[in-house]
C-alpha cells in the first residue's frame, strides 16, 4: 500500500471535468484507489465520491493505493494532479 499526500493546484479543483479524467485514469489500473480528505475517505474510481469530496483549489488530499500496480498508478495519478489535469491554471 502507498500513501501519497498531494496539493490540488488547479484553479477549479477536482471539478467535474478533472474528476472524469481522474476516474478514467484510475480505472486503467488494477489497484484500489482511495482518496482521503479531512476525515472522509472515498473510492477514487467513483465520480460521485470525488464530486462529494468537493476538493477545491489548495485542498490537500491523500491518495491511498493498494494492488499489484500500485507504484505505476500512484505515479500516473500524482502526475495528473500535479499537471493541473492538463488545465492552464
Amino acid at each position: 500500500m502507498i500513501e501519497k499526500t498531494i496539493l490540488i493546484k488547479n484553479r477549479l479543483g477536482l471539478h467535474a471535468r478533472a474528476a472524469v479524467k481522474f476516474v478514467n485514469l484510475a480505472n486503467r489500473f488494477m489497484s484500489d484507489v482511495k482518496i482521503k480528505k479531512d476525515g472522509s475517505e472515498i473510492d477514487g474510481k467513483s465520480i460521485l465520491g470525488i464530486l462529494t469530496l468537493a476538493a477545491t483549489q489548495e485542498t490537500v488530499i491523500t491518495l491511498i493505493i493498494e494492488g499489484d500496480d500500485e507504484q505505476a498508478a500512484c505515479r500516473a495519478l500524482g502526475d495528473l494532479i500535479n499537471n493541473r489535469f492538463g488545465e492552464k491554471e
Binding site: 467535474a16 474528476a19 473510492d43 465520480i47 462529494t52 468537493a54 477545491t56 492552464k88
Partner: protein
C-alpha cells in the same frame, strides 16, 4: 374536439403545425412500492435494461452534441456516463431492490433523495450544484424503465416540443437533433438560451405561455405561430387551412429574403458596403450567413460565462472562438471581450449590486480589474486567429490610458504564446468600441492607437442624451436622429475614415433603413446588426445612390430637430429614388 388559442411571446418566427410532444418534468416518487420476493430477479433485470438503454442514449447524445455543438458541450455526457457506471450508485440501487424488495422507481427515488441530501451539505456552490447531474442521470434511467419508448422525441418523427422550460444543455440537445418542428414553453423570454438557439436554427418558437404544459396532452394537434406569438390547440380544419396559407406566405417571404442575401452589396452607383451580423452563439452563424451577412461584426462573448456554472477555462474560450472563426471563414469575426457587470451579472463571481450599473464596473473596467480572466480570454482569442480572420474588440473605452493597459496585456499574451510556440496571427487587429461619449469626442486621439473602431450606438445615444429608453416616462427623448447624436457619430466616422481606420456600427441604428442611409451618407460602409434585419438594410442601401445620399445627408445636418432631419431626408430621397421607402415597407 376542444379548440383553444394561447397567447405568448413569439421569439422565433415561422409557423408549424403538428403533433405535440410533452416533455414531462419528472418528479421522483415518494411512494414506496414493494414487489413480491419471487419477482426480484425480474425487477433487477428491468433496472439493468434501463441502465443499458440509458448508456446507449448517453453515448449517442454525446456523439450528436460533439458533432453539432463541439467537444466543449459533449464533455458533460462523459461525466454522466461515469455517474451511470459509478459502482456506489448501481450497488445502492440493486441493494434496495434485493434487500428491501422495492420497485426500481422507488429505488431510484430513494437514491435520488439520498444524493440530493449529501450534495446539499457541501458549502462550495459549484460542487453543491453537481446534484443536478446526479438527478439528470437518475431521471434518464427512470424514464427508460418503460420499455415502450415510442413517446420519445428521439423516435425520428417530427414533433412540436412542449415543455415548462428548457435549460441550455437540454435545449442544445433537443433542438440539434433536428426533429423539432416548433417549440412552445411555459417560461422564457426573448433572450433565453432556448429562444436564441431556436432562432438560429429556424425553429418557430413561442415562449411565456404560462401553463401550456397543463393544457395539452402528447399527440394533441398544435399550431405554433412564432411570428405572432400564438399557439392553437386542436384547431378545426378551417383554422388549420387558414394557418397553412399563412405558413405558405411566410415561406415565400423567407425565400425572397434568401434571394436578397445573394445579391451584391453595392449601392446604385456601385459603392460597396458590408452587412455584418451581431451574434451570441456559434450556432447562429449558418443562419446569419444565409441572411447575407459577410462576417460577424459583433460576437458577444459574455454568453460563454452565462452558459455555465463554473468559470470557463482558456480551452472553453478557445473551443468556441476557433469554431466561430472556422465557420465564418473567409469572412472576418470581431470578438468583443466580455461586457459583463452592471445588470449582466456573472453567476460565478457574485458581483455586488451597484446603485448605478450603467455607469459602474462593467466591460473593460471589469476586465482590467479581473486581469486573470481577461488574460485567459485574450490568449484564447489569439490562439483562434490562425486563419487570420479574427479581430479583438474592447468594449466601453473611456480614456486613452485604458487602451495603453489593454495593449500591454495584449502584447504579454502574444509573448506568452510565442514562448510556448503556439501559433497565432501576429497581426490580429485590436479595435475599441466607441460607446462612451467622452471616447467619441477624442476619436482623433484614439484612432491613432488602435486598428479599427466600432460604434455601439445603443449605449452611445443613451449616455449622450442621458435617456434610459426602457423608462416609459423619458423614452420619447431617445432619438437616434437628434442633431447632436448625428454630429457626434459623423465626427467619429469621418475622423476614422480620414485616418484610414476601419469603422463599423453595431447598434440598432445599423438595422433601421433610414438611419442606415444617414450613416452611409457619413461614409460608413460596415453595418453590423441582428442578422434578420440584413435583407431589409441591403434592399434599402442597394436602392440609393451613394452620391445623392451624401449630398442630402450633408444638407440635413444644417437642420434643427430630429423630425426636420427625418422629413427632409425622406422627401429628398423620394425625389431621386421613389421606390426606396416603398421597399422598406414591404420588408418590415
Amino acid at each position: 374536439m376542444e379548440f383553444t388559442r394561447l397567447r405568448g411571446i413569439g421569439v422565433s418566427p415561422g409557423i408549424a403545425i403538428g403533433e405535440a410532444y410533452l416533455t414531462e418534468q419528472l418528479v421522483f416518487t415518494s411512494r414506496i412500492e414493494y414487489i413480491p420476493p419471487q419477482r426480484m430477479d425480474e425487477e433487477l433485470g428491468r433496472l439493468r435494461a434501463a441502465v443499458q438503454r440509458t448508456r446507449e442514449d448517453l453515448v449517442r447524445i454525446r456523439e450528436i452534441i460533439r458533432e453539432k455543438a463541439g467537444a466543449e458541450h459533449a464533455f458533460i455526457f462523459d461525466a454522466h456516463l461515469l455517474i451511470l457506471e459509478d459502482k456506489s450508485l448501481t450497488a445502492n440501487l440493486e441493494r434496495l431492490i434485493k434487500e428491501e424488495n422495492i420497485r426500481s422507481e422507488s429505488a431510484l427515488s430513494d437514491v435520488h433523495a439520498k444524493y440530493q441530501k449529501i450534495f446539499d451539505t457541501i458549502s462550495d456552490e459549484y460542487f453543491k450544484q453537481r446534484k443536478s447531474d446526479v438527478a439528470d442521470v437518475l431521471a434518464k434511467i427512470y424514464r427508460n424503465l418503460e420499455s415502450q419508448r415510442e413517446e420519445n422525441t428521439e423516435d425520428g418523427r417530427d414533433k412540436i416540443l412542449v415543455a415548462h422550460d428548457l435549460p441550455p444543455s437540454e435545449a442544445a440537445l433537443r433542438l440539434s437533433q433536428g426533429h423539432v418542428l416548433a417549440l412552445a414553453l411555459d417560461m422564457g423570454g426573448q433572450t433565453s438560451h432556448a429562444a436564441i438557439l431556436a432562432r438560429s436554427l429556424n425553429v418557430p418558437t413561442v415562449v411565456g405561455l404560462h401553463n401550456i404544459t397543463q393544457r395539452i396532452k402528447t399527440r394533441d394537434i398544435l399550431i405554433v405561430d412564432g411570428t405572432d406569438g400564438e399557439v392553437i390547440i386542436n384547431p378545426p380544419p378551417a383554422v388549420q387551412k387558414e394557418f397553412l396559407s399563412k405558413k405558405e406566405k411566410y415561406d415565400v417571404y423567407r425565400k425572397d429574403l434568401k434571394k436578397v442575401a445573394k445579391w451584391k452589396s453595392t449601392t446604385l452607383d456601385e459603392v460597396r458596403f458590408y452587412p455584418l451580423a451581431n451574434i451570441e452563439l456559434p450556432e447562429e452563424i449558418t443562419n446569419a450567413l444565409s441572411y447575407g451577412a459577410e462576417g460577424v461584426g459583433l460576437f458577444r462573448s459574455e454568453f460563454i460565462y452565462l452558459q455555465r456554472s463554473a468559470l470557463p477555462t482558456e480551452d472553453d474560450h478557445f473551443d468556441i472562438y476557433s469554431r466561430l472563426a472556422k465557420k465564418v471563414y473567409p469572412y472576418p469575426v470581431y470578438i468583443r471581450t466580455i461586457d459583463i457587470g452592471g445588470e449582466k451579472n456573472l453567476p460565478q463571481l457574485q458581483i455586488e449590486k451597484e446603485p448605478n450599473p450603467a455607469l459602474g464596473l462593467r466591460a473593460i473596467r471589469f476586465s482590467l480589474r479581473n486581469r486573470d480572466l481577461f488574460r485567459i480570454q485574450l490568449r484564447a482569442i489569439l490562439r483562434a486567429s490562425v486563419l487570420k480572420n479574427v479581430r479583438i474588440l474592447i468594449p466601453m473605452i473611456t480614456e486613452l490610458e485604458e487602451i495603453g493597459e489593454v495593449k500591454i496585456l495584449f502584447e504579454e499574451a502574444k509573448e506568452e504564446l510565442v514562448s510556448k510556440k503556439i501559433k497565432f496571427d501576429p497581426a490580429v487587429p485590436l479595435g475599441v468600441m466607441i460607446e462612451v461619449p467622452a471616447a467619441a469626442a477624442i476619436t482623433d486621439i484614439i484612432a491613432k492607437e488602435v486598428d479599427y473602431l466600432s460604434i455601439g450606438t445603443n449605449d452611445l445615444i443613451q449616455y449622450y442624451l442621458a435617456v434610459d429608453r426602457s423608462n416609459e416616462f423619458v423614452s420619447y427623448l431617445y432619438k437616434p436622429l437628434h442633431p447632436s447624436v448625428l454630429r457626434l457619430i459623423k465626427f467619429v466616422i469621418e475622423t476614422a475614415v480620414k485616418r484610414g481606420k476601419d469603422v463599423t456600427i453595431c447598434g440598432e441604428m445599423a438595422a433601421d433603413p433610414l438611419s442606415a442611409i444617414v450613416l452611409l451618407g457619413f461614409g460608413l460602409k460596415k453595418f453590423s446588426m441582428n442578422p434578420i434585419f440584413i435583407p431589409r438594410i441591403k434592399k434599402a442601401l442597394r436602392s440609393v445612390e451613394y452620391k445623392t445620399v451624401r449630398r442630402v445627408v450633408h444638407q440635413a445636418m444644417a437642420l434643427k430637430t430630429a423630425q426636420e432631419i427625418e422629413e427632409f431626408i425622406i422627401e429628398k430621397l423620394l425625389v431621386k429614388h421613389p421606390d426606396v421607402f416603398l421597399m422598406m415597407k414591404a420588408t418590415t
